[in-house]
Every structure is written in structure tokens, then in C-alpha cells.
């Protein structure tokens, strides 16, 4: 019997296997940020252990970093301490770090691919659940806790039980105005937030093959939002073209050897998955969330659902609590929901293609009077690239705020937060209660919907703007 993509990559990394124990997996790339690492470095110090492979490790500052006045010291002393602790640890343990102000600083999941460090067939981990993003290259990439961060720093390995395999088959041509974000939001609404638990998922099918690397990263990024261990996409010519010439992509004979290997990284025709899910992309429309978990979503053209339609009592209760928190009523049209803030950015949708798409919608329009729009590029390079294309001017002329790179309002660890009761359309990944600020209300949307919503002030798609420019 053939093997699935994830089985091939997994088997390539097994250092040791023994009956009744998890496999010991080698880790090719370990990404580190300031929030989930300080206690891990402390553990190493207490045990007198070095970092085993500093040259397979990369650190950056993203969660706490401000997006305004980045040349000044970080105002919040606790945030500043956390960032300074990472800098000291990186220096002490010999780890490369891209600090605030550095050209390669940015969200950890944006800079790995950008530097060409994220490659097919790798194992990639980070103390961050959105590490699944890197699976878009055909890597096994997953988030870990701080104890595991320490384990990888000390041993460059992780004990891991072998997950089950799942195929998500997405076929059909995406309608105009429907993006990778809409695919993954529709998928999560279909399978639920626990639907992927215990699985490494492979996204495949004609729709996935037609997506750019940016779109593929958006989908893999949200694998964790439906509980999957990791999400993967088989590498192909689009992957190779993205990587070619990036700073850490293989060169010369290494490139040829790498591509030869990468071309073996696909599920064999006779491989069997433990589970399969099908999604018809041709039927999709822009998708938005109404509730407080990413599975609580509907098409933009639909209405806020009645909690009574859910079969499970726990789902009904969750829906009731969500509607109460979100201050919404069953039957209300999603398009009638007005927002106070639009956030464009994050490891889900903070790449150059996302900014281009949103700029294309907002160009020649103006952000609605009562709305503030934050545009936060995912990395300092994305910001520079956008500026070289004049996207910053488009956003600023439309009345949006053009900020410096980082996680920003996705989780509000820096000053970019929602006020209590404030409502946002956000291109990020989590609409959890209080995620973007205590009492804040989040609707997850695509960059296209975010831009259109900023213009109208109510949840909208670009088609709603036709004739209004």
C-alpha cells in the first residue's frame, strides 16, 4: 500500500521508535518568539544544558511588539522585559534573532517562508499554534508548548505519537471574490472546531493546486482552528517557484537534489487516509463568523442562526452564549452588522498578496466615518514590499492606518486592542471572547471582505461596492 504525504515526511524524521512509546522525531527548524520561550531557556540554564543545534533555530519578536513608534523603547515595561529577555537568551545561547527594527523582523510564520527556511519535507515547530502555516510547503509543522520548546532546544527532537491521516478534498473553481480564507472558514463551519483532532490533514484537489503559496499558507494556518495536529499541502511547481532564489533556499547542486526529493513528497495514488472530507469550492461564497469560535460561521449573505437549529445541546448552549456575548439576534442579516474597527493583518492574512487584494478593493474609496482600519503587514519586508508598490499610499488615502509589522490586534498583547463592546471585522484567525481585547467582538473575514467592510461600515463584500466608487 502506498503512503500519504504526511507518512512519508514523518518516516523521514523518526530518530527512534519503540513499542509502547511515542516516536522520537528529529526537528529540522525551530522557530522561537518572546512569549513562549523564556521559561524554556530558564530550564536549560537550571539544568546546565546548551542549545543542541543553534543553526536550526531562529528567533524573532512579534507578539508584544508595538506597531507605532517602533524606534522608541517599548512603553509597557512587562512587554519590554519579555522582549529583552528573548534578546538576552538569543545572545547567551548563540541563536539568530531578528529584533524589532530589523529588516527581517516580523510574525514568526511570515518570516520563515520569506527567508526560504520553510521548505518541503521538513519538520517545523514553534511555541505557537499557528505553526501549522508552514505545512503549505509540504512540511509537518505544528505548535508546541513551552516544555516542548525546552525539549527541542536541548535535544533537537520531540517524542510524538503518530497521528492519524485525513484528506480534505477541495475541488472546483473558486467564484470571483472567494478566497482561501473563505474555503477554510467554510470548512471549519462544516466539520466543527474539534473535527480534525488527532489528525494530520492534507488539503488537496484542484482548488488547492490552483492557489498561490500565500493562499495555501492561509488555509494551513487555520488547521489548528478545527483541532488538527497539522495541515499540509503537497509541494509542486508553485512551491518551487516561490522558494527559488530566497536567501536560505538551496543553491546549485543542492537545489537540484532538493527538488528531486521534494517531487517525491505527495500521497501515493493507492495511499489510504483514515478519514476524508470533501468540499465543493464552486459553491462557496464569502464566509464570515457570527460567534465566538471559528466554527460559528455562515455565508456573508446569510443570517445569524437560531441556536435552536443545532442538534447537540452543548452546541445550542455555546451558540446562545456566543450570541449574548456578540450582542446579536437570530435572524439578523450578517450584512446589517456594523463594525467599529477593521483589522487587516496577522499570520493568517498579513502577507503581500493579502495587502494587494485589500488595496485593490479599497482604492478610490474611503473608510467609513465611524470606522478605524488598521493595516498591519506581517513582516517588515512585507511592509517594504507594499510601500514599493504604493499600497501604503492607497490605504492612507482611504483613511486607514498604516502600521509596522507584528501580531498586533490578532491577540492584543501590544497596545492594538479592541475596547469593551467594540466590534471588529478581522482577517485574523480567532474570534474567541476577548481575544482582541477584553469585551471586544470579532468577526473573522477575508482581506476582500475586510476592505469592503471598512468602506461601507457594515459586513460587506467587494461586489457591494460596485458603482459606488
Amino acid at each position: 500500500m502506498g503512503q500519504t504525504l504526511s507518512e512519508k515526511v514523518w518516516d523521514d524524521h523518526v530518530v527512534r521508535t519503540a513499542e509502547g512509546e511515542p516516536d522520537l522525531l528529529f526537528i529540522d527548524l525551530h522557530l522561537v518568539h518572546e512569549v513562549t520561550s523564556p521559561q524554556a531557556f530558564d530550564g536549560l540554564r537550571q539544568a546546565g544544558r546548551p542549545v543542541r543545534r543553534p543553526e536550526l533555530t531562529l528567533a524573532t519578536e512579534d507578539h508584544n511588539t508595538p506597531t507605532l513608534n517602533i524606534d522608541l523603547p517599548i512603553a509597557d515595561p512587562v512587554s519590554r522585559t519579555q522582549v529583552e529577555t528573548l534578546r538576552k537568551n538569543a545572545q547567551e545561547f548563540g541563536i539568530r534573532i531578528h529584533s524589532l527594527g530589523d529588516l527581517d523582523q516580523g510574525i514568526v510564520h511570515i518570516i520563515g517562508p520569506q527567508l526560504g527556511l520553510t521548505q518541503p519535507g521538513l519538520t517545523v515547530v514553534c511555541g505557537d499554534s499557528h505553526t501549522s502555516t508552514h505545512g503549505a510547503f509540504g512540511a509537518i509543522a505544528f505548535g508546541i508548548g513551552t516544555s516542548e520548546v525546552e525539549h527541542v532546544l536541548a535535544t533537537q527532537t520531540l517524542p510524538q505519537a503518530r497521528p492519524k491521516t485525513m484528506a480534505v478534498n477541495v475541488n472546483g473553481e473558486l467564484p470571483v471574490g472567494v478566497t482561501a480564507k473563505d474555503i477554510v472558514l467554510a470548512l471549519i463551519a462544516k466539520v466543527g472546531t474539534g473535527g480534525g483532532q488527532g489528525y494530520i490533514v492534507e488539503y488537496r484537489g484542484s482548488t488547492i493546486e490552483a492557489l498561490s503559496m500565500e493562499g495555501r499558507m492561509t488555509i494551513c494556518n487555520m488547521s489548528i482552528e478545527w483541532g488538527a495536529k497539522a495541515g499540509m499541502i503537497a509541494p509542486d511547481e508553485i512551491t518551487f517557484a516561490y522558494l527559488k532564489g530566497r536567501p536560505h533556499a538551496p543553491e546549485g547542486a543542492d537545489w537540484a537534489a532538493a527538488v528531486t526529493y521534494w517531487k517525491t513528497l505527495h500521497s501515493d495514488p493507492d495511499a489510504v487516509f483514515d478519514a476524508e472530507v470533501d468540499l465543493d469550492a464552486g459553491q462557496l461564497t464569502p464566509f464570515v463568523t457570527w460567534g465566538t469560535n471559528p466554527g460559528q460561521g455562515v455565508p456573508l449573505g446569510a443570517e445569524v442562526p437560531d441556536p435552536e437549529i443545532f442538534a447537540e445541546e452543548s452546541d445550542r448552549t455555546a451558540a446562545q452564549k456566543a450570541l449574548e456575548y456578540m450582542a446579536l439576534k437570530p435572524g439578523q442579516k450578517m450584512r446589517d452588522i456594523s463594525v467599529d474597527t477593521v483589522f487587516l493583518g496577522s499570520c493568517t492574512n498579513g502577507r503581500i498578496e493579502d495587502l494587494r487584494a485589500a488595496a485593490g478593493v479599497i482604492k478610490g474609496h474611503h473608510v467609513a466615518d465611524q470606522v478605524r482600519m488598521l493595516v498591519v503587514p506581517g513582516s517588515a519586508r512585507v511592509r517594504l514590499q507594499a510601500e514599493s508598490e504604493g499600497l501604503d499610499v492607497i490605504f492612507k488615502e482611504a483613511g486607514a492606518e498604516w502600521r509596522a509589522a507584528g501580531c498586533s490586534m490578532c491577540l492584543g498583547m501590544n497596545p492594538d486592542q479592541l475596547a469593551p463592546g467594540e466590534r471588529a471585522a478581522s482577517t485574523s484567525n480567532r474570534n474567541f471572547e476577548g481575544r482582541q481585547g477584553k469585551g471586544g467582538r470579532t468577526h473573522l473575514v477575508s482581506p476582500l471582505v475586510a476592505a469592503a467592510t471598512a468602506v461601507t461600515g457594515t459586513l460587506s463584500s467587494p461586489s457591494d461596492l460596485i458603482g459606488s466608487r
Binding site: G20, Q39, T81, L115, A154, H248
Partner: protein, 203 residues
């Protein structure tokens, strides 16, 4: 890590599903660089409500959390485990957990006991009726017992063994350092390294 064999204490019923790690501890509380002091952020958004279960006097001192389905989903923050432990919880009983949260708990010594949702409903009812009743969670026999109540719970054999022995994962792995050395010798040359650093030129 201390060995875990059995724990007896009172319980707290948390009747909510999908309690993600942002609810267990919001991001603004994650800025400490130690593993202690996170109890002030535990369920922070709900703590301001005097009727929130953690504020009810009958459950003060509870060490066993009885959670709803899909507890600990979302963010990988191990701070969620530390916050529960810092507050005094030793055990979380539930029917479904986020993978990373469950793994983090095992590493940090917080016991995650998995039972069917039907058992959770029974436990919720039992604890609400008898908040002062001691409940014993026995890892050796995988049993949850209280007066007039008994249920078996699930935990994978490997995590159970590590908890019973109080073993440190890194120490266990370093016993196999020869395997790691051997693997590294055969690793492909084309795999990336972060050092020496290479960066793109500015266009």
C-alpha cells in the same frame, strides 16, 4: 516533576464547552518570564462576575476541575496549564481536550482524565449537589471515585507511566543521544540552516 499517583480533593463544575486557552488565560497575562504567578489571569474575563463558579464560596479550595467538551483548544500557551496549577488545580476531567493543551498538561504534571460526556454530566450534577464531597482520582487504577460514584477514565499509557514515575522528558530523550547523533550524521546536506544568516538585498 513530582510523581503523580492519586489525588483526593473537592471539585469545581465548569459548565461550558469550547473553553479555549484564551479563556483560560487571556494574552495580556502571558507577559511574565517565570512559571509562577499566572493564577491572577485564570479565567480573567469571567472572574469579574461574582456568580462565576470560581467565585462561589462552596467551591473554594477545589483542586479538580470538571470541564466541558473541547477544553483547552486554540493557542499553544502552556501558561494555561500553569495558571490552573498556580491556582491549585491538580486534575482536569473532561470529555474532549485540545491536543496541545493535553500534551502541555502531561509535561507539566497536570493530570488530564478523559471520560465520556455522560459521565461529565453526572459529575456536574453530583458536585453541584455535594460541593464539599471529596473526589479521588487514582492514576494507578484509572478510577474516579466519590461516595456513591465510580467511573474509569482514559489516559494514554505513555503519559500515565511518565506521570506515575515523575519523569523528565528531556532526561528520557537524552538516554537516546546515540540515536540522535546517528540520525544527524545521515541528514541531507540540502536541508536549511539558520546560521550563517543570509538575508535578501533591498531592492
Amino acid at each position: 516533576m513530582d510523581a503523580f499517583t492519586s489525588h483526593t480533593g473537592t471539585a469545581l463544575p465548569l459548565r461550558r464547552s469550547n473553553v479555549d486557552t484564551d479563556q483560560i488565560i487571556p494574552a495580556v497575562y502571558l507577559k511574565r518570564v517565570t512559571k509562577t504567578g499566572f493564577e491572577d489571569g485564570l479565567f480573567a474575563a469571567w472572574r469579574s462576575d461574582p456568580n462565576f463558579v470560581l467565585n462561589l464560596p462552596q467551591y473554594a479550595g477545589a483542586t479538580i476541575l470538571i470541564a466541558g467538551p473541547d477544553f483547552g483548544t486554540g493557542s499553544s500557551r502552556e501558561h494555561a496549564v500553569w495558571a490552573l496549577q498556580n491556582h491549585g488545580f491538580k486534575v482536569v476531567i473532561g470529555s474532549r481536550f485540545g491536543d496541545i493543551f493535553r500534551s502541555n498538561s502531561g509535561k507539566a504534571g497536570l493530570l488530564i482524565a478523559v471520560v465520556e460526556q455522560k459521565i461529565i454530566e453526572e459529575l456536574w450534577d453530583f458536585v453541584e449537589e455535594h460541593p464539599a464531597a471529596p473526589i479521588t482520582v487514582d492514576l494507578v487504577g484509572r478510577q474516579i471515585t466519590a461516595e456513591g460514584f465510580q467511573a474509569e477514565f482514559e489516559i494514554d499509557d505513555y503519559t500515565r507511566w511518565r506521570l506515575l514515575e515523575g519523569l523528565d522528558d528531556i532526561g528520557l530523550t537524552l538516554r537516546h543521544i546515540d540515536h540522535i547523533d546517528a540520525y544527524e550524521r545521515n541528514r541531507s546536506a540540502h536541508k536549511p540552516r539558520t546560521l550563517p544568516a543570509k538575508v535578501a538585498s533591498i531592492d
